[in-house]
Symmetry: C2
Subunit: 254 residues, 2 copies
């Protein structure tokens, strides 16, 4: 039995003050750091730590590399932006386990949760996730548009607040426009919408709009798009940016 | 203009290693700690800090108290379990702002995100949230059963992974049973289901089942219930608890 360890570490959206002590401790103990280059770059280099950077789209290959290292006895941290469990590296690692070496199932693997982009955005905006919500990735390489459309329609019918991850796609730049077109047929044009970009990082930027007048083209790869439910509203603050609120009650229920 | 401050602080699910440095820093700076008793109890008492404990259901009153304190110039931390933005104190505070003293809109209010129960549960289980998901609170005091039923149906139609918060209710103990009955009419009986109780705390307990054979009655106030999509599956590990995986791809798409 190998004594290797594999931690799947959530680095949160960017700033150090959003990294949990558990994640920090795992990064200190790791002998190998595996991840997408920009995430690995967030960790200060140490001469006794090996760093393995790979491309954004190479998740499964990266997962296999990390599992092979842990299997050989290494203490490995696979780093992920946000929460590794939410549209990130945890699924890739367990997919690799499922289809890989049977011995990998006996490895010590731990997922260390982190602050996801949706939560960072919500925190800056006020309380848009105060009631039921759903999270949908618009990433186009692992599911068909039919699946996305079906989920957007269901989310609209359920009147959920919607957090859209990965709204921009070089391969299919019209996808976020299509998503807005679909939602506009279900939800009032006055519905508050927020584009929360790079929250917590130096280039943080928030744009508030309504579903009717929003330009979804401003969403890039670092943007989380939040679309309100029928209950979501703005709290006016004069010249300051209004807060976004989805109250805990629904339809006037007390 | 008051120089008071109000932080709405996420304490995460329980253990100190899941509290962000940002939250810890706010708790150090605060002169007043406001919250539901068991959450305030997690913070070591300090002679120079005032503590204001209130009952679980008194969220709006607690929010008003915190706003009034901040308005008088105090540095106030409202503490919340999990992430304050997810079914927690952030919405209560902004509801109080909306209907309260106009001067409260000029206050310095910051939401400090935390690890939510859904993320802690997902981390322990493997990667159940690797694909689109939704979060629904079964709490019965602020929305009607019709709204819950409509959302469960929509979530089923969208084939989302579903995280159920607040599954137990003293007032209406049949609610979680009704939710399972509804979901059983939409989703295969073999769908994996997890009951993740008090994750990260000494009395942590995980029960895996299928939608068909699960007993929803085991869910108490500290339980997060996770219900798989049609793609969610188990990774067998012999005698160890299997991992739960919702892959990043859908319907065999690559």
């Amino acid at each position: 039995m190998s004594k290797g360890k594999l931690w799947i570490v959530g680095l949160g959206p960017g700033p150090a003050h959003w990294i949990t002590p558990e994640a920090t401790s795992a990064l200190e103990q790791a002998g190998d750091i595996v991840g997408y280059g920009p995430y690995v770059d967030r960790i200060a280099p140490r001469p006794d730590q090996r760093r393995h950077c790979s491309d954004n789209r190479a998740e499964l290959q990266r997962a296999k590399q990390a599992l092979a290292l842990a299997s050989s006895g290494a203490h490995v941290a696979v780093v992920s932006g946000g929460d590794p469990g939410v549209f990130a590296m945890a699924a890739a690692v367990f997919e690799a386990v499922e289809c890989g070496d049977a011995a990998w199932r006996a490895l010590h693997i731990e997922v260390l949760p982190g602050i996801s982009a949706m939560q960072a955005a919500a925190a800056r905006l006020g309380a848009p996730l105060g009631h039921d919500f759903c999270a949908i990735s618009l990433s186009d390489n692992l599911k068909s548009w039919d699946v996305v459309a079906r989920r957007l329609k269901a989310a609209a019918e359920g009147d959920f607040v919607i957090a859209l991850y990965n709204p921009a796609s070089k391969a299919r730049p019209t996808r976020v426009h299509d998503a807005f077109s679909l939602l506009r047929t279900h939800r009032a044009t006055t519905t508050p919408v927020a584009f929360a970009r790079a929250i917590g990082r130096p280039d943080e930027r928030i744009v508030l709009a309504t579903l009717g007048d929003a330009d979804p083209g401003i969403a890039d790869m670092s943007t989380l798009v939040m679309i309100g439910s029928s209950e979501t509203r703005l709290i006016d603050r004069g010249e300051a940016r209004p807060w976004l609120l989805t109250p805990r009650s629904y339809g006037g229920a007390r």
